[in-house]
């Protein structure tokens, strides 16, 4: 009897639903808006808002105009990146001076006074401590500059206009206009860029934005690009132009990254993530003066500290691994040397070498330590003077000294160009991989997002290397 009742109610509700029809939600929303309008009319008294609207409209006219829209956009992005890279130099060198040049020897001294065995001292201080210190020194200042600047632009209301301007390009590649924002955020940090994809509400487009975020050259990779471009690209043109040539090369790599982002978005939306943008609508909020201090505070807490913490958590074991592979011997070779020799052949095919590949494997946790690791490993296998000992990462004060070490390691212009390409096209750092997993909750897509860029990096560097050798 009871069951019969329930079934009766269910079938009644189904019938009623059919009778109400599809218009139900439309009517409901309409009703709510009608009521709201009624209430607003009674309760809200508007002051003269026309002036404010005029200013907004005038700014909008310029920002979205055919002539000024795009140049302005690139100018602002360039300015933000320039401020970040140049501005981060000073606090970075201060932090490096403190953590690497002062605290590190002090810790070593302390360890020897209390009689710590050499392997424990090396493992903890040269390995774990040094990697963590390096990541903090190189990563913290640019992020502490980039994220607040970015958040200020967001708060001011400029970023939604960027998405608006660029949407058509993203539509052509089957993606969402808001991906422009997550992409720009990726220039600061890919992990933060992946988190930022939460603003995209349809799952398919969000996945595309997550997978392609790695093609934005992040803060950890800019210094590598600039260093290598200065040493090798700057050297092939007359000295007067070397600054411009190396800058141009770095910007070229960043633009290449944007090109790959569009290409991969397009390819994904034609194959495995087939479909169309289902829900595109973008609110363009009115301009408002950013709340300066609040913005700085929240961007430091929400973005910088979280990302930095994750990076430290991953960098510590990486430091340990780097020290271990350089100091544990299999027969008469350290593991590092053995790895480098066995990867040399493959590295040669890609126009790279074993040292670079090993450095990219152990430096998965943080792109920041790639160059120090490469220098240390180069010194380790070539046996030239310099460096701070097996497993101790270091960087040289002068750019030319760095160049000398690399050239002693057999580097050519091709190696430099391919390293720059590979630095753009390789797996995301482990912080980003972990963030991708947390955001997608899918092992499959995390794997795709991690493996796809490496494969592209292999293919691109391989092709460049073969064509280079054929022609030059």
């Amino acid at each position: 009897m009871k069951n019969k009742n329930i079934e009766h109610i269910i079938s009644l509700s189904n019938d009623l639903r059919w009778q109400i029809g599809d218009e139900f939600h439309d009517n409901l929303a309409e009703g709510i808006y009608a009521d709201a309008a009624e209430i607003v009319k009674d309760a809200v008294h508007k002051k003269d808002q026309i002036n404010k609207l005029r200013i907004d409209a005038r700014i909008d006219k310029i920002i979205t105009s055919k002539t000024w829209g795009f140049p302005l956009m690139f100018l602002i992005l360039a300015l933000v990146l320039w401020l970040t890279i140049i501005g981060a130099n000073y606090p970075s060198s201060m932090l490096a001076g403190l953590l690497l040049d002062t605290l590190h020897p002090a810790l070593k001294g302390l360890a020897s006074t209390i009689g710590m065995p050499w392997w424990l001292d090396g493992f903890l201080i040269d390995g774990v401590y040094l990697a963590v210190a390096w990541v903090i020194a190189v990563m913290l200042p640019p992020m502490a500059i980039f994220f607040p600047l970015f958040t200020l632009l967001e708060d001011f209301g400029y970023l939604p206009r960027v998405a608006f301007n660029l949407d058509h390009l993203f539509k052509l590649s089957g993606a969402h206009g808001k991906q422009a924002l997550t992409m720009s955020m990726g220039f600061g940090c890919n992990a933060a860029g992946v988190v930022a994809t939460r603003i995209i509400d349809s799952p398919r487009e969000r996945l595309i934005a997550i997978i392609t975020n790695n093609f934005s050259l992040c803060n950890g990779r800019w210094p590598t690009q600039i260093l290598i471009a200065t040493i090798f690209i700057g050297a092939v043109v007359p000295t007067a132009f070397s600054g411009i040539a190396s800058l141009g090369a770095v910007i070229g790599i960043a633009i290449l990254g944007i090109f790959f982002m569009f290409l991969v978005s397009w390819a994904l939306s034609k194959t495995v993530l087939k479909g169309e943008v289902s829900t595109f609508n973008l609110e363009l909020p009115p301009y408002r003066p950013p709340r300066f201090w609040k913005t700085i505070y929240t961007s430091l807490i929400d973005r910088t500290i979280i990302v930095l913490w994750r990076a430290i958590v991953f960098a510590a074991p990486a430091g340990a691994v780097i020290w271990l592979i350089s100091n544990v011997y299999l027969g008469d070779q350290s593991i590092a040397a053995w790895l480098i020799h066995s990867l040399d052949g493959f590295g040669f095919l890609l126009g790279l070498n074993g040292v670079i590949l090993v450095a990219y494997i152990v430096a998965i946790p943080a792109n920041e330590i790639v160059i120090p690791t490469i220098l240390m490993l180069t010194v380790l296998v070539t046996g030239i003077d310099g460096g701070a000992g097996a497993g101790v990462m270091f960087e040289l004060d002068s750019v030319s000294a760095t160049g000398d070490v690399l050239k002693a390691g057999g580097w050519t212009l091709l190696t430099a160009v391919n390293l720059m390409l590979f630095s753009l096209l390789h797996n995301p750092c482990s912080t980003t991989i972990y963030t991708i997993y947390k955001e997608t909750k899918s092992l499959k897509w995390t794997t795709v997002a991690s493996i796809l860029p490496v494969i592209m990096g292999f293919v691109v560097t391989f092709l460049v290397a073969q064509i280079w050798r054929l022609l030059i």
Binding site: H25, F164, D167, T279, N281, E283, L284, L470
Partner: protein
């Protein structure tokens, strides 16, 4: 690396690339073909035959074994074997070559149809797949859904009555709503009606209708009809169709005294400086997307004007209820307005 030579390396690379392309290219890659072949088992053939019989019997056509063999793409042996199997399970009866559905066969067929249409509805409401792909994907999915899954799907979608093409979805008790309407190609000049159904078969005709940007739920008025073409006005635009294509569109005729908004237009044709009132959102915008537009204030009676043009032309920002909202052209074309 003695044998190394850039040209050999490149050749090996391109050979591997071509091989991988042939293996995995979309739709026609060998890998996918093999995968699809290994799946085409007896169950799918049986269900395809049931569906074929069901649709034909609904149109009062009866098929013989030859018709079935000719229509389906599977091998003749497999089809014959399947029909025999179906006869022993009393899904069909065979009387002198004519194959007819039994009651249980008809019920089974209805269940497949239900799964198919529900899945199309799901694709339309919850995913971003292109309309062209709905049918094909549902063709594959209908064989995978069990009865319980189908019922769960139905209740999650709110037990919908019609699929996105306007076809009725059978209920789990086998009830099926009737479409009351006339074929567009048979309407007289000056008839006013609403499009209620667009047939998704055959594929070529359906794609052509989609390319014309004709939407279910649109009001139309026939303005010209002859043997070579049918012209009708709808939502501020004029459409010209060949009669064979118009034959795939069903229209429910509206009473003469229903007031039809004559200067109805699509939001996409609004120009800068013009203001319009919103009349409604087309049925083609469904699910979350529709809900979002309603939330943003695109409701009947709201005033709308262009706020910003885009340097690349698309999207445009519309001023609605004091807020600026950017919409892509394909979405704006599904919002109906009346210029003021």
């Amino acid at each position: 690396m003695n044998t190394y030579n850039p040209i050999t390396a490149l050749l090996i690379f391109f050979t591997i690339s071509v091989f991988l392309y042939l293996l995995f290219r979309p739709n026609k890659g060998w890998f996918w073909l093999i995968k699809a072949n290994s799946k085409s088992n007896g169950k799918i053939v049986v269900e395809d035959i049931l569906k074929l019989l069901y649709h034909n019997e609904n149109a009062d056509k009866h098929l013989n074994i030859n018709d079935i063999v000719r229509t389906l793409k599977n091998s003749d042996d497999l089809i014959l074997e399947s029909i025999n199997k179906m006869a022993t399970h009393e899904l069909v009866t065979i009387e002198s070559d004519m194959v007819k559905l039994t009651q249980s066969g008809s019920d089974y067929a209805l269940r497949i149809v239900r799964a198919h249409r529900l899945w199309e509805k799901f694709l339309a409401e919850k995913t971003g797949f292109d309309e062209v792909e709905w049918h094909e994907r549902a063709e594959r999915k209908e064989h995978e859904l069990t009865k319980d899954e189908t019922d769960l799907l139905a209740s999650k979608l709110g037990n919908p009555q019609f699929d996105p093409h306007g076809d009725p979805i059978p209920t789990n008790t086998g009830k099926i709503a009737k479409i009351k309407g006339n074929v567009l190609s048979e309407l007289n000049v000056d008839t006013i009606g609403r499009i209620i159904h667009i047939k998704d078969k055959p594929d070529i005709v359906y794609k052509q209708i989609l390319a014309e940007n004709i939407h279910i739920g649109s009001l139309i008025r026939v303005v010209e009809k002859n043997a070579s073409r049918i012209v009708f006005h709808s939502e501020g635009e004029s459409f010209v169709l060949a009669p064979i294509i118009a034959g795939n569109i069903t229209v429910s005729i509206l009473e003469k005294d229903v007031v039809v908004e004559e200067n109805l237009a699509r939001l996409s044709i609004l120009k800068a400086g013009e203001t319009a009132k919103i009349i409604g959102i087309s049925k083609e915008i469904r699910g979350d997307s529709r809900r979002r537009l309603l939330d943003l204030g695109f409701v009947k009676g709201a005033d709308v004007s262009i706020d910003l043009l885009n340097p690349l032309g698309d999207p445009k920002a519309f001023l609605i209820k004091g807020t600026s909202i950017a919409l892509r052209t394909n979405q704006a074309s599904k919002i109906l307005i009346k210029k003021v």
